[in-house]
């Protein structure tokens, strides 16, 4: 073929292949916490090989390139050291947007200077296959960028987390998507600038339009989906450059994001399409308050009561949710766990897959506060333990503990797998106030059970007071 790859020396192709294999090993390392650090190192070595090989092949203009890497690297390194663990979701969304933008820039650069990328035929025109790859790469990159920017703004609270619904948004979105695909097809026959830049502009627009109607609690799906897109964008560019490292990485990241989206959808019993269509929570909010207008009796308790109950329990299962992250209660929670363990109480943590704003969010926060990871269990592994446990301690979680998901077919969360906290002998439920409902807008019958004690306060303050009471 006329591709530049035909001129790529064998050693370089081998080097890119090795980089690709190292990236596979870096994900493989994440199968357990013991091997994960090694995995991360494989990833770094792979990246080093890919960059070094490229520089050896195309080593002109080095000073500027080194300066660019130094600027970007310093910013990245600095952010990574400073960022709080509770802010991981918006950090990851922000990073996704950078990959998307980089893909757009590389695509635009290749379009403006196809010679440098070796994607021209003998007549000086961009190759047909390269036109499709470029079009797709730029489109996916642009969607990743603008979608991730919106996700970042929503996750960091700079933009309201509630869904923003435009009229006729499905029609608009489908029309724009069809327009992008049509233009990429047309680009094969006519590669004039207007076509290329329209594809780019429309793709920026659709990324924005797709994410604004999606609400805060669906963010775990969105962020996984954008993760997947950033991979496909890299893969498309890899096709253009005939670069093995990029293609392998793109495929890995693409499947990784897709699998995470699938896991998140399954954990909410929602179809991918319904999440992408957006608007979840908006309808429920309108209908919800009517049902909960009648004040039902509930039992409120104090930190003192909670400390007494847990001190005398044999086993406590802690169920953290997004509320724990918001109030930064993880450190106080770990302290509470330590004091209970000192009293001879068995303490475990139960994590619902969609607790928090991104996959594995709660696990990172607990790890940050030094909770050993072998005390932390996934839903399937711990759900049968609630029947035998004395206290279920729910902190900042709501919908993921709602038993209506198992019984009420009319409930918007019906069919979602939930943690069976109601089976515990006593449920201690930390909640800011009785007024608010969970994201799904559904009332939780656990609040009104005889064996539930509501601890109405800010999560962190409540746990700190419990710790004080456990102390003496």
């Amino acid at each position: 073929m006329d591709h530049i790859a035909a001129d790529t020396p064998a050693w370089a192709m081998l080097a890119y292949l090795i980089a690709g294999v190292l990236f596979i090993l870096s994900l493989r390392g994440l199968s357990s916490p013991e091997t994960s650090q090694q995995g991360n190192r494989y990833g770094m070595i792979g990246m080093l090989i890919a960059v070094a090989t490229t520089l050896l092949l195309h080593g002109t203009g080095l000073p500027l390139i080194v300066a660019a890497i130094a600027i970007g690297g310093t910013i990245g390194w600095f952010i990574a050291q400073k960022i709080q663990m509770t802010m991981m979701p918006e950090l990851v969304a922000g990073f996704h947007s950078l990959v998307g933008m980089a893909a757009v820039l590389v695509g635009a650069s290749a379009y403006l200077n196809p010679d440098a990328f070796g994607i021209v035929d003998s007549a000086g025109q961009i190759l047909t296959a390269s036109r499709i790859e470029l079009g797709l790469g730029v489109a996916i990159g642009a969607i990743t960028f603008s979608g991730s920017v919106i996700a970042f703004l929503k996750l960091s609270g700079r933009m309201s987390g509630s869904p923003i619904l435009l009229p006729a948004r499905h029609v608009i979105n489908l029309a724009v998507l069809a327009g992008i695909l049509g233009l990429i097809g047309y680009f094969v026959f006519d590669s004039q600038p207007a076509v290329f830049w329209t594809i780019t502009a429309l793709s920026f627009a659709i990324g924005f339009l797709l994410i604004i109607p999606i609400g805060g609690a669906d963010m775990p799906v969105v962020i996984s989906m954008l993760n997947s897109y950033s991979g496909w964008a890299a893969a498309a560019m890899g096709f253009t450059l005939q670069n093995t490292a990029m293609i392998i990485t793109g495929a890995l990241v693409g499947s990784s994001g897709a699998i995470l989206s699938y896991i998140m959808c399954k954990a909410m019993n929602r179809s991918f399409i319904s999440v992408i269509a957006g608007g979840f929570g908006a309808e429920a909010e309108a209908g919800g308050p009517k049902g909960s207008a009648v004040a039902k009796p509930y039992k409120a308790g104090s930190a003192e009561d909670a400390a007494f109950i847990m001190k005398n329990a044999e086993s406590v299962i802690i169920v953290p949710g997004y509320g724990m992250a918001v109030s930064q209660a993880q450190h106080a929670l770990r302290e509470m766990g330590d004091l209970l363990k000192a009293e001879g109480v068995s303490v475990k943590y139960a994590i619902h897959p969609v607790a928090g704003r991104m996959p594995g969010h709660m696990n990172v926060l607990l790890a940050e506060s030094n909770v050993p990871y072998d005390e932390v269990f996934e839903l399937e592994d711990i759900n049968s333990d609630f029947g035998q446990c004395d206290v279920a301690f729910v902190i900042g979680a709501n919908d993921v503990t709602n038993p209506l998901a198992k019984t009420d077919k009319t409930s918007p969360i019906y069919g979602m797998p939930v943690l069976d906290v109601e089976k515990a002998k006593t449920v201690l439920f930390i909640k800011r106030s009785m007024g608010g409902v969970g994201y799904a807008g559904v009332d939780n019958p656990v609040f009104y059970m005889d064996n539930t004690m509501m601890l109405l306060a800010d999560a962190k303050k409540m746990v700190e007071t419990i710790v004080k009471n456990l102390g003496h």
């Binding site: 994900l27 916490p33 520089l55 600027i71 990574a80 890995l252």
Partner: protein, 107 residues
């Protein structure tokens, strides 16, 4: 390499990705996202080619490439560093594994 060989690599890599990612423990899903983010910045390869293009090519194209190098570098350094920071937090119950991980990170 022709298109079909490239496509074969891509399809095979999708399958490898599928099996490798399913074997990742759910507790490490956040680090997984951070590290996939870092490695997808391998797009820097394209950015480097663009920015090292010989004189005579379009100047704009070169500067777009350099900007892409900056963005991808933020991601590479930031992504790997934050993953490293997170993974260092995962500890087992007893003290032994902590000591072991200290040794391995020293060398």
């Amino acid at each position: 390499m022709d298109f079909l060989s490239t496509l074969s690599i891509f399809v095979m890599a999708c399958f490898v990705g599928y099996y490798v990612v399913w074997s990742v423990t759910p507790a490490l899903h956040t680090p997984l996202m951070a590290v996939t983010n870092a490695i997808s910045s391998v797009i820097i390869v394209g950015a480097l080619i663009a920015s090292s293009a010989a004189v005579g090519g379009s100047e704009i194209s070169k500067w777009l490439g350099l900007l892409a190098v900056v963005l991808a570098s933020v991601n590479i350094f930031g992504g790997f560093a934050v993953t490293r920071r997170m993974l260092a937090m995962y500890k087992k119950k007893e003290k032994k594994p902590v000591a072991a991980s200290n040794n391995s990170s020293a060398k």
